[in-house]
Symmetry: C2
Subunit: 442 residues, 2 copies
């Protein structure tokens, strides 16, 4: 082989993913060089403490605490520190120096993506972040490039492995949330402080990124309506199962049309994260354990699904290295960097404009005419009922009969649904509203 150019790669952060990236850069150096057309030389690893013990053995001389100097001398910078600062300052510094940047920092991208994209555009360099959403699954490049000639209408993603593991455990074993969470923590699928996962914050950051790429418009974390899974009960899961559904925490981004009362008259995109009922035959329902998947509906392509490992050091490192090789090839071949397009300009809609089907569980008095009164009330609020199912329970001691009513609606707006549920609560024949859950994929 004739003499090859060498590109200097600075790595910021050496946690779970960073350590695997460093290992692969060293072990697979020859194969990476052959595919890139340049040698990718790991010039240093910036960490807080150079003496921390790491799972992967790496040359001690690579470690430094001086991230600034490391970044200034790099052709490519990989940011895997996480958090907002100093990650943001270092990324901006790298871009201004003309380095291409690869990051997996979803929180930073969701909070301050536009600043970073503009810096990359100005410098004409590449900012890549495939690892930020759904770990190893190639999803951002297919959305940005492969579907560039299509119109995405809806994205449904299982993008948080921790919550998928917990919900899957609850579904399989009948466990309560707290027990399934404890099991996930025991197996290393959930952190000691699980807030970011179980409250949906991690999924919300990924939803903002997916929505931005899918609809060519910049959405920030503040545009995402977010509900976690802490209030999902074993009873909810059992009722869903009984009705042929499974409950998943979905990141949803969907285009809503301009016309019609349902959307309040404004065309826009609804971006949200919430527990969702899916029919058991939906492709996303078969995504088990800590796996991730993103389901896309596009006008021409129809239904697509991308499935794989959403986390873990080695799988996520694969996504980082894919971005790195692509950016390096671009340096070798010439040609400017490319970030997302923002030609869409569609507004983010509030959760009140979202439309989904709903599953509603009611504990009602067993009296003649109850079903009719409830059905009438739904109709008055413009919410159409698809399925209504009543089960009678008899308490043998008191001989009192009560009835459980399960309703699945057609698509309705959050606003109409909320008004309906309020009105239902006011009926004297209602003992309690046992659950209100959104349904997709029907």
């Amino acid at each position: 082989m004739t003499e090859m150019r060498t590109l200097k790669v600075a790595l910021l952060g050496c946690g779970n993913v960073g350590a695997q990236v460093a290992r692969i850069l060293i072990e697979d150096a020859d194969a990476l060089a052959a595919r890139t057309g340049a040698r990718l030389q790991l010039s240093g690893i910036a960490v807080r403490n150079v003496n921390t013990r790491r799972d992967v053995e790496l040359p001690q001389e690579l470690f430094t605490t001086d991230a600034d100097t490391l970044v200034k001398d790099a052709d490519l910078v990989i940011e895997l520190m996480g958090g907002i600062e100093p990650a943001r300052t270092l990324i901006v510094s790298a871009l201004r120096n003309g380095a291409c940047v690869v990051t997996g920092n979803k929180a930073l991208l969701a909070q301050d993506g536009p600043t970073l994209y503009e810096e990359a555009d100005k410098a004409g360099v590449q900012l890549s972040y495939e690892a930020a959403v759904a770990g190893a699954i190639p999803i951002l490049r297919p959305i940005r490039d492969s579907l560039a000639g299509d119109r995405i209408t809806r994205v449904l993603g299982i993008v948080n492995g921790t919550t998928n593991f917990i919900l899957d455990q609850m579904d399989t074993t009948g466990a309560q949330f707290a027990d399934a969470l404890a099991e996930a923590q025991r197996l290393g699928y959930a952190e000691a402080d699980p807030t970011a996962d179980v409250e949906g914050h991690d999924a919300a950051a990924k939803a903002a990124i997916l929505a931005s790429l899918s609809f060519h418009t910049r959405f920030a974390l503040g545009n995402v309506h977010c509900e976690g899974i802490t209030s999902v009960s074993a009873a909810d899961i059992a009722a869903a199962k009984d009705a042929g559904f499974v409950i998943k925490l979905l990141a949803i981004a969907e285009k809503l049309p301009a016309a019609g009362a349902e959307t309040g008259g404004t065309e826009g995109v609804s971006v949200r994260v919430h527990p969702t009922l899916l029919p058991r035959e939906h492709p996303l329902a078969a995504v088990h354990g800590a796996f991730n998947a993103v389901f896309i509906e596009a006008e021409n392509a129809g239904e697509l699904m991308f499935y794989g490992r959403g986390a873990g050091g080695t799988p996520t490192a694969s996504a980082v290295l894919g971005d790195l090789v692509s950016a390096a090839r671009r340096i070798v071949l010439g040609g400017p960097g490319r970030t997302e397009t923002t030609t869409g300009h569609v507004p983010a809609l509030g959760i009140e404009s979202a439309t989904t089907s709903y599953y509603i569980g009611l504990d009602v008095a067993d009296q003649p005419g109850v079903l009719a009164r409830i059905a009438q009330l739904f109709a008055e609020h413009g919410v159409s009922i698809e399925i209504m199912r009543q089960t009678i329970h008899t308490d043998s001691a008191s001989n009192v009969e009560s009835a459980e009513l399960r309703i699945v609606t057609h698509r309705a707006s959050e606003a109409a649904l909320a008004a309906t549920v309020e009105a239902v609560k006011g009926l004297d024949v209602i003992n309690s509203v046992t659950s209100v859950l959104r349904v997709e994929g029907v």
Copy 2:
């Protein structure tokens, strides 16, 4: 918007896919221009007969029979004529003129890809062919770019919708092959002459393309071992179902290690198409009807799956337009085209080197010691048995008992398996070998 550059797009062929591409280029012109940074002007459509009636209404003045002239004046050429000639000559002419080419011609790519890649490299232009494999599913770009920093070890693809529809029908309804084929033809999922689909030729061309990109080495159609589904019987499907498997026609490309008798001592890639048993819980087992999916195993990423519509005019048009916008953006931004890398240089292995698990059905005499003799014979040939299951049938009229024996082996080479089956046939206690089928995903 300031004045935008216009790029001329020549379309060759106006069948099912071509007509949809033309429609979208006209209808979505503004959105495509916004995303591309240039207007994509459909300059003409080359067809054999300009007066043929088409399903989509298109301006009559676009049609021409003079493909040569159309190609000479184009910035981008979309080839959707199919077949080897004149498609090859027109593509080469376009590339030499400096035009980027988008094609969905799997037969041409599998037969003569290297010639085309070299012409594109020489001219420094882009040759893209996402539509050639698995229709609307973005699969080639993820393999080429997203997994560029990883090592793919195995690809399993359901890449032919016709055969998947037929096998799915047989599995669901218990139909025989001929009846399921007739149903597929009635519904438009199979051609009047279904040979290319049911004999596996279409899948084999796609296997060659998938293998080439996955292993950075050029594989041609001649490197692909190909078996179709015409000999798969309703009894095979029923037996597989009973044992917890489903039968799919898979396109398989897998790296086999250098060491060990199993591979004959040569490292290489086995590329093959054949009916395959998959456990019902495997993600590919849930791919129903005419859908396609590609399952990838990579060293770092682990398991990935890509799912969607593998055929149809509009879905395939989405893949064509994704390639077109990407190629056009490259023209606008500058920078040379990029085709596949061929740095792998791994040899293609013959089917005798392939290793899979096998399912073997035997009709045996019900005598003591039969199981032991058969097990001994497998052991002598180095084929390890994973599951052995015997079912006794009694014919009430004659009172003769016979036994059905089902065996699933661990991974073994084709050569060892063939020798074992030959030896088994020679046993006096064997009435017949009822089926020998390969198994993946166990």
